[in-house]
Symmetry: C2
Subunit: 342 residues, 2 copies
Amino acid sequence: MTKTQPIHDITSLVQAPLDRLNRELLHDLAPGHPEMRPLIQHVGGFRGKQLRPVLTFLSGMAVTGASHGGGLSDDVVTVAKVVELLHTATLVHDDVLDSASVRRRIETVNHLSGVETAVLLGDYIYAKAFHMAVQLPDPTAARWLAETVRVICQGEITQILHRFDYQWNEDRYFTVIAEKTASLYAAACRLGGFYTAVSAASAQGEARKANEGRLRALEEFGLELGIAFQIVDDCLDLDGDEAVVGKSLGTDLTKGKITLPMLYLLRDDGQAQKLKDLLGTSEAEGLRRLRAEFPLEHAIAYAMEEAQRRIAKAQASLSPLPPGPARDALHDLASFVMTRRV
Amino acid sequence: MTKTQPIHDITSLVQAPLDRLNRELLHDLAPGHPEMRPLIQHVGGFRGKQLRPVLTFLSGMAVTGASHGGGLSDDVVTVAKVVELLHTATLVHDDVLDSASVRRRIETVNHLSGVETAVLLGDYIYAKAFHMAVQLPDPTAARWLAETVRVICQGEITQILHRFDYQWNEDRYFTVIAEKTASLYAAACRLGGFYTAVSAASAQGEARKANEGRLRALEEFGLELGIAFQIVDDCLDLDGDEAVVGKSLGTDLTKGKITLPMLYLLRDDGQAQKLKDLLGTSEAEGLRRLRAEFPLEHAIAYAMEEAQRRIAKAQASLSPLPPGPARDALHDLASFVMTRRV
């Protein structure tokens, strides 16, 4: 077990390909009509921690035990771009769904240019991402990512259909967050490994099959990491610090989205009735009462323990990969997810 | 020149593959969770004239001069499905953009299940369509259609950015409708021809290149047909019969979308000022005044003449194709577009 590194030390290993991705992405998105350029540039401002492309790059290194990111193939960079664009498209549409006005301290597209432009710009970015994916000589990424987006939407729609559904249970919660969030992490990791293994295999004449164990390890890592990420996200919505998180909190309460800490509170019949009365109220009122009248810290601790178990499972799943700095960085990135407040 | 046939005679030539498409599509869309099924079935009810898959099938026949649709390859059926799904996804999102409550006399998804579900269901259908496209052994359809969806969104966004823009002119109007509407018609035709030519070429050992002239002819046909279709649509929004069209009219006026009949009226400085005052008013008021105070019939006649020129151009572009019933049907389908009232 290595000592956990701060996030910038983890990502520094892949700073070169990440810089290349950020240099090229705005150019790749360039529209045919100049009037769309300000919109594209505005969306570029949403850039966050870029966890998904970092995972793709680290996975690309980890699958061969490479010690630096300079040797990553062009195909791996393309996969990382596609994953980041698909994530960006989901954010643009999420902001429409949430009627959000601010994302990472800048105006959302729907707030700046209206719901119509935001829906269409999300579609535009999806189409551009798929178009980049189908330029890859190997069709695996295009197939895997089209299926991933379908699964993301399926998870999100299922969650909406089950708002205020008090029959909801942990199994279904985990299925939905695996679909809507973790599936893209799993794809980012697996495909980063796959496109490195493909070029290594064609260079060395190895059978691609031999790498399947490592690719499964990366996929499993991404899946468990993504589940933990979403659990932490759901906890932050209830007990985060609005000034730090940078978006309004309590929206799950208002929308009747039943998350893991709420499922904990619903176990107790007395609390359950009180909580049902509280779901659907305004964010401020809901959060105030939740914090004052419920054992919220127990509910959060319960959920965070589950997240910690998922992180441990993610880290354990790395064992089939050759030891090296990329595998260590993936391990530390998983620990980082537990400490995030943003 | 053949005598124009009624639409059911034209489509009867491809009834067998069309029936197969309709049998398979709902099954293809089947989600992993049963709670989504009613949504998918509801969207299935939007089925309209299915012009785009009809074009794909007729183009597949026309490229080789085949006399019936029974010999169309599985790949051509897949292309037709993907094109129809992409069109369906744009309809689901269009209804969100227009806050429409009725489509082809049934409730829109946003009206039935809310804006959030409608945005996500559109994304779901896009993803499913791309996933089907990337299953094809030849990547041409996936590449062409991803680029087509990008272009459709670019056209729609550009049109929104230029609402109430009185500097708008015919060239830019034609560019935007070619992008937002005609590009998918062009793709439907070209790809129907392409996937037939691909299998014919591999069977007969012919060079694929030899077919490029026919594929360009089909693409040009689809493009001009699609432009004419959109011009007729824009005319119907101003002078159609609401009971026949089956959706609310006058929305372009209200939204400040400047279409070809309006560009005609804007040419006259006196009318231009009056029209500017009228754009943005309610549908009923706008339509009433437009019909009472403007030479609307001249504006419509002007636009319909342009549509007729595009139809003639589409029909002329069919000449490189071998004569036969499919080429005749494409010719008649183009004439049909001019007579439609729905």
